[in-house]
Each structure stands twice: as structure tokens, then as C-alpha cells.
């Protein structure tokens, strides 16, 4: 079974691998940070917001304060996640699923949990 964990990421509950929703490329074990399976780039904010005047404050961001870090699917180049971080700031391990729910789910019906509300 495949579960959409984010807009762009699927967790395959049988292979226990992350997959790109767009091209099904695998991004490593669900037990790991999916970002480890991505291609990663850091970009000067001026590539996203056009500087409109001269000077440091130019309606874009100052690259000495912040960068755009992009996480791509190596299979299709989809942009899976973006972080705006100060240069060199550790990347965020944002999603760490409790995998017992997949093992439970492989036997149990999830709808009993869903019907509670």
C-alpha cells in the first residue's frame, strides 16, 4: 500500500521505502530522512526574488543572512521540499514516522481509527 505523507512524497508500506509521488523513484528507507535520498542545492535568494534596486536591501534577501535550500527528486527533478536557512544551518529532519503503524496496518483495517470522529 502507498500512503501520501506529503504533497510530493509517498511511503510504500510494503517495501518501507520513500517514493517520489511524481515518478515513483525511491528515496531510501522510510526509517531514514528522505532528504538523504534527494539531490540538494543551495541557492542565492536573488534567483527566486529579483533585486529591484541597487544595494543590500533591494527587495530580495541578503545571501549573507539566508539561502534557499532545495531538495529534488533524483528521478524527475521535482521540488520536494524547500528550506530557507542561514548559510550553513543544519538541515531539518522534518518527518520521522513511527513505523509500527505500517506493520500494524498491514494486518489491521485503518478505517476503525478513521471512523472515530
Amino acid at each position: 500500500m502507498k500512503r501520501s505523507i506529503t504533497e510530493s512524497l509517498v511511503a510504500n508500506t510494503e517495501s518501507l521505502e520513500w517514493e517520489c509521488r511524481r515518478c515513483q523513484h525511491t528515496l531510501g528507507p522510510v526509517a531514514e530522512n528522505y532528504k538523504k535520498g534527494c539531490l540538494i542545492a543551495q541557492r542565492d535568494p536573488k534567483e527566486i526574488w529579483e533585486p529591484l534596486i541597487e544595494g543590500v536591501l533591494n527587495f530580495s534577501y541578503d545571501a549573507t543572512w539566508s539561502r534557499i535550500v532545495e531538495f529534488y527528486c533524483p528521478g524527475c527533478g521535482a521540488l520536494l521540499e524547500v528550506e530557507m536557512l542561514p548559510p550553513g544551518h543544519p538541515l531539518t529532519h522534518d518527518i520521522e514516522l513511527d513505523l509500527t503503524m505500517f506493520t500494524d496496518e498491514n494486518s489491521a483495517d485503518r478505517s476503525s481509527k478513521d471512523s472515530a470522529q
Binding site: P45, I53, G77, L79, G88, E96, K113
Partner: protein
């Protein structure tokens, strides 16, 4: 530090009125957010409710609350009433919030705590006591408030000699008698710089406000005495209208019915919230958010959240958050919970009672010494602007937790979360002293994009979603300035498959008077606090612009046609003579002279999803409407179109987007390679002055406050 260890709860207090004792300190007040245990009597009142009673009278209470809110708004003068920075609320006899009309959900957290404090500390104290007709009042964060501009009136509701409930009305008021005008002094370094702070006190008896205590407050609020007098009365009027209606309900249905109904609301809120949380995926969800100011100077401040969800409860751990500092950008744990509530009550639990029961599934772990759990003598008047880092990190972590559930429609990228406002004071053209803020930018930030739609442009005030911008021209009547422009700001929403809503921009110029004191609050000048979600980009940069010594009046008198119409043209075309200053959006109090131009920007919301997945027709629409530039359409969204007709070239767009994906694959590096290069970088040292060690954020020097 413990402010007060005494507890006077004695056997004479019936169980349903008791508040469990906690250590009273800034670090521990958040514990009173948990609902009080339900005793036998209360349980039986809940059980005595007939089928249908809860549904009918829950609705009746909502109507009562809405009525009181309307009366409150119409009775007061502060602009923040129009903006919706208020709450009217009904509590159980021991201070649990049954429901509220908000306004701002902040006070769903903070309103409970002073009520519990009074019950805990003063109910049995013969020098205070709680009696029918009493009026209590407070604005002190140490006793459960957020910051002292938020003043709250609260009243016990008695019927047939029994205490059955409490009611409250609270609104932000932009003056506190601090070292600077406006109620949120940027230069405050300790609590002693922040003006009037009233612990919960009784300001009225027999349903009348005591003149001596009102005079005391008015005396404190010397820059805006009229506002203090009128708005104190407005708060009491709001609380009292609720008191009357709850009493009427008791007359009609009996005390046990009212007490059972109020408790059932708290219990139902908790049960419903837990049922909903149980259907989200268990796991650990992390988010980081950055502010770029501590008010008096630009500085990087990090908020870090690890939200661990197990079955029906969520542990919110803010370890890794920046250390406290000697500015007014600090907070206490209950203030953090209050800022989480802004998201929780508006998105995942929007249909549940605005009760502290709804928040019972959450545990709060906020390290002492961090900027979110500062020492009791810290200045905290700018805790709301600081807590944008809480609003953003909670929105991100919970949205990731909820996506794979039937509650996907209740998530979104963070809202603008910048809190942009110009604060002004002086003597007006009507020769009245004034101190107020411009609600125009404050109430028109962009909403974060959602899984199936763009964020709403100028959606509101992220601290009080329902907030409305006041009439832009109201200010010109009341205060001495002209508003040159006020409209949506192009390219301000975060780009993505779904685009963040746009924020606005405005420019004002002092007029009719020689001078006006002004300052401004804002952020996202150097790093955005409105992050994107699932591949969406954050909101755009927001500099502050000030042009002094202009020829604005001469140009207007001549009828010149080249007056600037937006922030970019002010800075780029420089049609006005004068000295131009581009700076951080948070600006210290200064003197503005007649004709100076003050430009203030509001932030857009975060974007959602990959920009290359955005429907090209939507991109073209945005271009036609002026919401994005042609540069953005081509360089970010990668669409191709006929320049004159703005007709889409589908084939070229598809090719361009495919090639943009190939460029990403060439640009991107595998994890290890990326990390080895990336981790060698560090930010501008100017950014790290208050950050602690890089990148851990551990305090290097103790904070000294005088």
C-alpha cells in the same frame, strides 16, 4: 523563580470551585492550561443534561458571546477592537474556558490563568474575596497574560448566592506608559521599562468601577488617557453583558444546568480533540523558523520545535530555540502555548469549542533560559512579534503530521506572521494627545497557501485571523498624516503550486503638524518567517523605507503626475527629493517631519508545492492582475507566453519546465557532498550576536537585566 508559594484553598471551597495548586512562576503558569479535575457534583450536573441540551445551549452560548463581543467592540475606541485583537469568554467557576468569541485565540490560553489565580489566591482571602458584583482586572504576563497592552476585565457570575461561572472581555490597547509609546517598547531591556502591569486586582464592587482605581490607571497611561478610560469601561461592559446573560440562563434553567453545561463544553472539547489527533500518523515532526530582529537591532532568533505525536497526545518540545536576551523579544511558556493556539483553533480544531479542553492533549516542554522561557524579570512586551517563530514552526510541524489523514483540508503553509505596523504618537491636528498604530498593514498579511487553493490575499491579522483592516482614511481624520497609497504588494506571496496570499504596502506622510513620533515593527527583511510548505517558497523580503525632507507637498500642490504609487517605485524611481533610507522593517522611535514619507510593508503567506506544478493559466492570471511580475512568471514559474497578448505558449512552457527540471538535477548534489560544503558556511556575524554558539544556539554569556 517562584513568585508566590502560598495556597489558600481550604475545605470551605466546594470541589467544583477548586483550582489545583501549582507553583506560581512564569515558567509554570502554563500548567493551569490543563482542565481542572472533575469532581462528583460536577460529573452529576453533566450527566443530568437532557439529550439535546448540550447542542441547543452550546449554540445559545455562542450567540451570547457574539452579542457581548459586538457590544464590546462598539463601546471601545482602540483600533485593535476593529482588528479583532480581543476575546470575550465564559469560564467554569474554577477558571476553565468553556467557550469564547475570538478575536484572537491567544487568549483562549491566557484568559484562564488570571481567573484561576484569583480563585486560588483570593477567593478565601478575607482582604479580597470574590463576591457578586465584583470586577477584576489584569494585564500582567507573570500572572497569565501575554503582554501588558492586553488588558482583561473579568467578573464572577453568581446566582442564588452561588458562584456558577466567570466571564471576561479582553482587548489589546496600544499604550501602556512604557519607555516608548505604543505599548510594545522596542528599547525595553527589562520588565521595569514596560509601564503599567496590574496583577489581578478588584477594580469594582456592586457592579460599579471604582473611580479611584480607574483614575490610577488613567494616570499611568498618560500618553493616551482617554483611551484608557473608555476602553477599561468597554472591557467591563463586555464582561458584564456576558454576566447578565449567563445569570439569565441560570434563572431559566438553574445553577446545576449552567455548571453542567460549561463543564461539558470543556470535556467535549478535549474528547473531540483527542479523537482527531488519534487519526494522524504517529511520529516525530520537526520544524525550524527564524526571526531577524530583537527590536533594537537586526539579529537571528531561531525557534525550533520537535512535535512528537503518540496516539491521542502531542509533546511539544522547543529545545534548540535561541537563548533569551536583554531586549523585549522574550516570552514565557504560556505565551508560547497561546501562539500555538492561534493555529490550532483556526485550522485543525476550527469547529471545536474555543476551550482549554481542546488544548489538553498537548504537553509543553520549553527550556528555561531560552527566548521562549525567559527569566521572570525579562522584558516581554514584544513576545507576540517574537512568537512568529512559534506560529510558523507549529504550522509546519502539524501540517506535516496531518497531511496523510482526513484532516488534510485543515492544513496550510504559514501565514505572513510578520506583524507589520507603524506606531505613531504626539499631539494631533485636533490638539489631542494620541498614541496608536496603523492597523492597515497589521491586518492585511497574506494567508499561507493550502493543499487545494492559493492563500487569500490580505487575508487578515495572523494573530487574530478574523481581524479586519480599519478604513484607511479613518486615520487621516483622526491623526495627523496623509496616506499616499495602500494596496496589495506584487510578488509578496510565497511562490508554489499554490501561491501564498499577497500582503499589502502603504505609505504615510505626517501632515497638519510639524512633527510626529513614529516607529515600526516588522520582520522578514533578511530571512522570511513565512516559510513555504512541501516545496513552496517563503514570502518575499520586506525592507523598511523612509524618505525624509521631501518635496511631497510642493509636488502635490503643483499637481505633479509622478508621485510614487508603490514601495518599489518610491525606492527605484526616486521622484521625491529627499534623503532615502532603506533599513530593517523594525525601526526605533524617531521624529517624522511634515512631508516625510514612511513606507511599511506587510508580508505574504508561504507558498505550497513545486512552482513547476502551478497551472500556467493561473500564473498568467496573476501576471494580468499585477500580482506577480513578468520576471517571476518567466524565471520562477517558467512559463512562456506571447508578450503583447499574454497568451500562453503551451509547448514552449512544457519544454521550459522540463529543462528547468534538468537544470535542478545538474545543480543538485547528493547528501554527503552537499553537507560537506554547506556545513562550512556560516551567516553574517551581525546576524549571530544574540544567537548563542553557532549552530547549536547555546547561550554564551548570562543575560544581565538592571
Amino acid at each position: 523563580m517562584s513568585l508566590d508559594q502560598t495556597s489558600l484553598d481550604g475545605p470551605e471551597i466546594p470541589e467544583y470551585m477548586r483550582v489545583r495548586p501549582i507553583e506560581i512562576s512564569t515558567a509554570t503558569m502554563v500548567q493551569w492550561l490543563k482542565p481542572e479535575p472533575v469532581g462528583e457534583a460536577e460529573r452529576s450536573w453533566v450527566e443530568q443534561l437532557e439529550p439535546g441540551d448540550y447542542e441547543i445551549y452550546d449554540e445559545k452560548l455562542k450567540n451570547i458571546l457574539d452579542e457581548a463581543r459586538e457590544i464590546f467592540v462598539r463601546s471601545g475606541v482602540t483600533n485593535l477592537l476593529t482588528a479583532g485583537d480581543l476575546i470575550v469568554a465564559i469560564y467554569t467557576a474554577n477558571g476553565d474556558l468553556a467557550n469564547a468569541s475570538a478575536g484572537t485565540y491567544l487568549h483562549c490560553v491566557t484568559g484562564c490563568l488570571p481567573v484561576k489565580y484569583v480563585m486560588h489566591k483570593y477567593y478565601s482571602d478575607p482582604t479580597v474575596r470574590v463576591e457578586a458584583g465584583d470586577i477584576f482586572y489584569t494585564n500582567e504576563a507573570r500572572y497569565g497574560g501575554i503582554h501588558n497592552p492586553d488588558q482583561m476585565a473579568f467578573m464572577p457570575v453568581f446566582h442564588e448566592g452561588e458562584l456558577i461561572a466567570w466571564t471576561a472581555a479582553l482587548a489589546h490597547q496600544p499604550e501602556t506608559g512604557a519607555i516608548e509609546p505604543g505599548g510594545m517598547p522596542i528599547l525595553a531591556r527589562s520588565r521595569s521599562d514596560e509601564g503599567m502591569k496590574l496583577t489581578p486586582i478588584k477594580i469594582g464592587q456592586d457592579y460599579r468601577i471604582k473611580r479611584d482605581l480607574l483614575d490610577m490607571m488613567v494616570n499611568f497611561i498618560d500618553r493616551s488617557p482617554r483611551m484608557q478610560e473608555i476602553d477599561t469601561r468597554a472591557r467591563v461592559t463586555g464582561a458584564d453583558r456576558l454576566r447578565v446573560r449567563v445569570q439569565e440562563l441560570a434563572v431559566a434553567k438553574g445553577n446545576d444546568f449552567v455548571r453542567g453545561l460549561l463543564r461539558k463544553l470543556v470535556l467535549e472539547a478535549e474528547e473531540s480533540a483527542r479523537r482527531r489527533i488519534a487519526r494522524w500518523n504517529d511520529g516525530t515532526y520537526r520544524a525550524v523558523a527564524f526571526a531577524d530582529t530583537i527590536g533594537r537591532e537586526p539579529a537571528l532568533v531561531r525557534g525550533m520545535l520537535t512535535a512528537t505525536k503518540r496516539h491521542d497526545s502531542i509533546h511539544m518540545d522547543f529545545s534548540g530555540t535561541s537563548p533569551e536576551n536583554d531586549s523585549s523579544y522574550n516570552a514565557f511558556p504560556h505565551i508560547v502555548a497561546a501562539h500555538a493556539a492561534i493555529f490550532l483553533f483556526a485550522y485543525p480544531f476550527h469547529d471545536l469549542p474555543a476551550s482549554n479542553g481542546t488544548l489538553a492533549p498537548f504537553e509543553w516542554d520549553i527550556p528555561e533560559g531560552s527566548v521562549l522561557n525567559a527569566a521572570p524579570n525579562a522584558a516581554i512586551s514584544n513576545s507576540p512579534p517574537l512568537c512568529c517563530i512559534v506560529m510558523t514552526s507549529v504550522t509546519l510541524a502539524l501540517s506535516k503530521m496531518m497531511f496523510d489523514s482526513e484532516d488534510r483540508d485543515k492544513i496550510g503553509a504559514p501565514n505572513g506572521n510578520m506583524g507589520s505596523e507603524i506606531i505613531f504618537s504626539g499631539t494631533s491636528q485636533h490638539e489631542m494627545p494620541y498614541a496608536d498604530l496603523d492597523g492597515c498593514t497589521l491586518n492585511t498579511e497574506g494567508q499561507g497557501a493550502r493543499p487545494d487553493m492559493d492563500g487569500v490575499n490580505a487575508y487578515g491579522f495572523p494573530w487574530a485571523h478574523a481581524g479586519r483592516a480599519p478604513d484607511a482614511e479613518f486615520y487621516e481624520d483622526e491623526y495627523p498624516f496623509l496616506r499616499l497609497f495602500y494596496h496589495l504588494r506584487r510578488d509578496s506571496g510565497g511562490f508554489g503550486k499554490w501561491q501564498g496570499g499577497l500582503g499589502t504596502e502603504t505609505a504615510i506622510a505626517p501632515r497638519h503638524v510639524p512633527t510626529m513620533f513614529w516607529s515600526s515593527i516588522g520582520k522578514s527583511t533578511h530571512i522570511s518567517v513565512a516559510s513555504g510548505l512541501f516545496g513552496g517558497y517563503p514570502s518575499s523580503a520586506s525592507p523598511g523605507i523612509w524618505v525624509s525632507g521631501t518635496d511631497l507637498w510642493e509636488k502635490m500642490n503643483r499637481g505633479d503626475q509622478d508621485l510614487p504609487e508603490d514601495a518599489v517605485s518610491v525606492a527605484a524611481d526616486r521622484a521625491l527629493q529627499g534623503e532615502y533610507l532603506l533599513e530593517h522593517l523594525t525601526r526605533l522611535t524617531r521624529i517624522g517631519y511634515s512631508g516625510d514619507l514612511i513606507v511599511q510593508l506587510a508580508a505574504g503567506g508561504g507558498g505550497y508545492g513545486d512552482v513547476l506544478e502551478r497551472d500556467p493559466d493561473l500564473v498568467l492570471n496573476d501576471l494580468k492582475n499585477g500580482q506577480i511580475s513578468s520576471w517571476t512568471a518567466k524565471e520562477v514559474y517558467q512559463i512562456r507566453y506571447e508578450e503583447d497578448s499574454l497568451i500562453l505558449d503551451e509547448t514552449a512552457t512544457e519544454e521550459t519546465r522540463d529543462s528547468a527540471r534538468q537544470t535542478r538535477l545538474k545543480r543538485g548534489k547528493p547528501w554527503d557532498e552537499f553537507i560537506s560544503e554547506w556545513s562550512k558556511l556560516s551567516p553574517n556575524p551581525e546576524a549571530l550576536k544574540y544567537f548563542g554558539t553557532w549552530p547549536e544556539g547555546v547561550a554564551e554569556t548570562p543575560v544581565v537585566r538592571i
